[in-house]
Amino acid sequence: MSRVRFRTPQSAAASLLIPLLAIAITALIGANGTPSFQDTVTTILCNLIIVIGLQVFVGNSGVYSFGQLGFATAGAYIAAFLTLPAAFVLLQTPGLPHFIADAHLGALPSTLIAAAISGLLAIVIGLPLMRTSTLAIPISTFAFLIVAYNIVANWDRVTGGSSGLVSIPTTTSVESAALWAGAAVILALAYKWSASGYRLQATREDEVAARSIGVGVMRERLIAFGISGVLCGVGGALAVHQSGVLSPVTFYFGATVTTMTMLVVGGARSVFGAVIGAIAISAVNELLRGIENGASLFGAISIGEAPGLAAIGLGLILLATMIAMPSGLSGGREAGELSWLQRLGLSAPAPPAESSGAVASKPAIDRPAKGALRAEGISLAFAGLRVLKGVDLALGPGEALGLIGPNGAGKTTLVNVLSGFQAPDLGTVSLNGADVTGYSPARLAHEGLGRTFQAALPFPDLSGLESVAVGAMGMGVSRRRAIAIAADVLDRLNLREQAILPAGALPPGSQRLLGIARALAIGPSHLLLDEPAAGLNEAECEQLVAILRDVLSDFGCGILLIEHDMSIVMPLCSRVQVLDDGMTIRIGTPQEVQADPAVVESYLGSSFLAAADA
C-alpha cells in the first residue's frame, strides 16, 4: 500500500528544481556578461532573495507587510559594520562599538551574522506587531519601516547618517548571490510545506476555521515573520557587499514598492511566483532604465532621455497584472502544480488518498481523560440585548445531545461561548473537569474541543487532504502522522475522492462534510456541530446520520448537534435541549420534546404535528 502524500515526488521535485533552474540560468547569463552586466545580475539575485523573504510572510499568511525592507536595512548595515576596513571606520562611524568595528569579518560570516540578527529583530518587532489585527498589520509594519529609516538616517555617529557609508568591501559575486538565492528557495519551500507553514496557510484561507482547529494565529505569523526577516537580512547583506555603498534610502520606499511589485506580479502565494516575478520585473526594469537614459534602438530610432519611465512602466505592469492575472504570472502555484506542466506529463497531481490502515483502528489522537463538557449559568448580552439568560448544558463523553430552538434563540451564541469564540458575561464552562472559561478557541481545540460552523468555512486553496491534515497539524503532530490521520478520517467519511481537489472547488455539501472531517482530525473529545445538515438533501442527510453514528461509536466523543431537521436530531440524539429566547425551556428525550406543547408552539409549528400524525 502506497503512502499517502500531499503531492507526488515528481511534482515536489519540479516545484523545487524549476525555480532553482531559473536562478541558475540567470546566473549563467550574468556570469558571462560584461562586469557592469554582472553587477546588474548580482543585484537582481539580491532582490530575488528579498522577494522570497517577502513571499514567506505575505504569501503564506495572506497579510501584506510593508516593513520587511526594514530587515534588509538591518542586515545591510550589520554586514557593512562587520566588514568595513579600519581606515574608514573612524571616518564614517566613529560611534561604532570597538568589538564590532574591529571584527573585520569575511563575506560569509558577516552575512550569517547579519541574517541571524535580522531574524531576531523581526521576532522582537513582530511580537507586538503580530498582535495587531489582519487589517492593521500592513499599517503597523509600514510604521516600523519609517521608524527604522529614521533611526538609521539620524544616528550619525554609528550609521553615518543620511550620507550613508562608502568603501564597503565588494565581495558578492554572481555565483555567491546565486547560491544564496538557491538556498532561499529551498528554505522558503521547506517552510511552506512544513506543518508550521500549513498552519499559517490555514489562517490565510480562513482565520476563524483555523483557530477552531487549534492554530495560534499570532504564533504562526510570528514564525514566518522571523524567517522572512532572516531572508531579507541576507538579501540586504549581499546587496551591500555588491554595491559597496549604503544609505538609509537604499531599502526604503522605492525598494519596498519594487520588491512588492515583483511579488505581486509573480504571484505571492508561491515561491515560484516570487522567483519569476523578481526576474521578469528586473529584466523589464533594466530595459526601461536603458531607454530612460536615452538609447537608440537598432541604430535607427533614437530615443531621448525619459526620466521616470521605469517607474511609470512598473506601475503599468503592476496594474495590468492585477487586472488580467489577479493571482500573478504563476497563478499562485508552485512550478510542480502548473497545469501545462502536468499536461506535458512532467508532473502529476497527488493520487487519491489511500489509507495506510495503520491508524484506522483507533481514534486520531488519544485523549486519556474524557469527562463532560459543562456550561453553568451562561449569560451574555450584546449591546443590552440579552441573548443568553443563564443557560446550563452538560454533554457527556460518547453522548449525542441535540440543541434545538427557534432562530435567534441563542443556540449558535452558546456554541460560540463553549468553543471560546465568545466570552460569557456570567457563568462558567468546564471541560473534562477543568475550568476553561475564557480560553481562546485554539487553546480549547488543544483541550479536545472540535467544532464546525453554520457556513462550511473551507480552506479554498488547500486540497481536501491538506485541509483535514492541517487539523491534526494544529495539534502539533508530525506532518507524516497528520497526513495519515487525515487519510483515515477522509476514508471514514467517504471523502477520499475529494482529497486531491482544492476545497474551494467542491460542492457545498462536500465542503460541509470536509468541515466535519477537519474537526475530527484534531481528535476531539467533544464535537460541536452547528447545522451540519443545512444544504444537504434527504439522501445526504441519511448518510450524515450514519457517519455521525460511526463518529459516536468509533471516536467515542460527545456530540452537540444544533439542527433544525428533526429527521437528523431524532435518530441520533439521546437527549434534546430546547432553547427559546436565551433560556432552556425543555430537556428530554426526542419523543418527550416532540410532544411538548410549548416546543410545538415556539419551534416545531403545528404543521409538524400534522405531518407526524399523517
Binding site: N407, G509, S510, L536, N537, E538
Partner: protein
C-alpha cells in the same frame, strides 16, 4: 419568459453542467431539486451572470443574458434571493429595503405594500439587520428583492437554516406571492415540499436534467424520487 438552451458551465477544465434546457413562463413557479453537486447553484449563477456559461444561451424575454454583467441582468427585472441571504448587516431594515428599490418615484408606495406583507419587518424597520433572527433575515431578503418589482424572483434555498415553524411562515409568504402571479424559480433541498409547492419541477443529477414534470406527474412517479434520493439511475 426565461429560456435556457443547452447551457454548459465549467470551472477550469471541469464541466459541472452538461447542457441544460429550462424554460419558465410568465406566472409559473418552477422548482429545481437534486443532490449536492448536481449543478443547481451553477445554473442559477449562470442565469444571474455570476458565471459565464461555457456554451449555450440564456434569454429573458427579448434579451440575451449570456455575457451580461450581473447588475445589468438585475436591472432587467431578475431578482435573486441568494443562499445565505446576504442582507446588508450593519444597515437598518428600512435601509435594506430602500436599497432594493429600483424606481425612486414608487419607493414609498412599494415600501408600504411590502411592509403590509411582512408585518414583522414593519415592527423592526428601525433595527439593524444583523439583529434580526435567521427567519426574519430571510423575510428581509425576499422583501428587498420584491421592492425591485422583479418580473422573475429566483430563490436559492430560502428554507436553509430555518426552524420548522419559520419555514412554514416563509412558504406561506411565497404562497401568497404565487397567488398574485409572481413568477418564481426555486431551488430547494426538501424535495417533497418543493414538488408540492411548484407548478413544475426539474430533478437534476450530476449536471443534467434527470426528470421533469408537474406536481402530479412527479408524485405518481416514485422511481424519479428514488433516483433523486441519491441512487444513480
Amino acid at each position: 419568459m426565461l429560456e435556457l438552451r443547452d447551457v454548459r458551465v465549467s470551472y477550469g477544465r471541469i464541466e459541472v453542467v452538461h447542457g441544460i434546457d429550462l424554460s419558465v413562463g410568465r406566472g409559473e413557479v418552477i422548482g429545481m431539486i437534486g443532490p449536492n453537486g448536481a449543478g443547481k447553484s451553477s445554473i442559477l449563477r449562470s442565469i444571474c451572470g455570476l458565471v459565464r456559461p461555457s456554451s449555450g444561451k440564456v434569454t429573458f424575454e427579448d434579451s440575451v443574458l449570456t455575457g451580461m454583467a450581473p447588475e445589468q441582468i438585475a436591472r432587467l427585472g431578475l431578482a435573486l434571493v441568494p443562499e445565505g441571504r446576504h442582507i446588508f448587516k450593519s444597515l437598518t431594515v428600512a435601509e435594506n429595503l430602500r436599497l432594493g428599490a429600483r424606481d425612486e418615484a414608487e419607493v414609498g408606495e412599494l415600501m408600504e405594500q411590502t411592509l403590509a406583507r411582512f408585518p414583522i419587518l414593519r415592527e423592526r424597520a428601525g433595527q439593524r439587520a444583523d439583529r434580526l433572527s435567521g427567519g426574519e433575515q430571510q423575510q428581509l431578503a425576499i422583501a428587498r428583492a420584491l421592492l425591485g418589482k422583479p418580473r422573475l424572483l429566483i430563490l436559492d434555498e430560502p428554507s436553509l437554516g430555518l426552524a420548522p415553524k419559520m419555514i412554514d411562515v416563509i412558504y406561506e409568504l411565497l404562497g401568497g406571492l404565487r397567488e398574485e402571479g409572481v413568477t418564481m424559480l426555486l431551488v430547494e433541498q426538501n424535495a417533497a415540499r418543493t414538488i408540492d409547492f411548484c407548478d413544475r419541477c426539474l430533478v437534476l443529477g450530476t449536471g443534467k436534467v434527470r426528470a421533469e414534470g408537474s406536481r402530479g406527474e412527479l408524485q405518481r412517479n416514485p422511481d424519479v424520487l428514488r433516483a433523486y434520493l441519491g441512487r444513480q439511475p
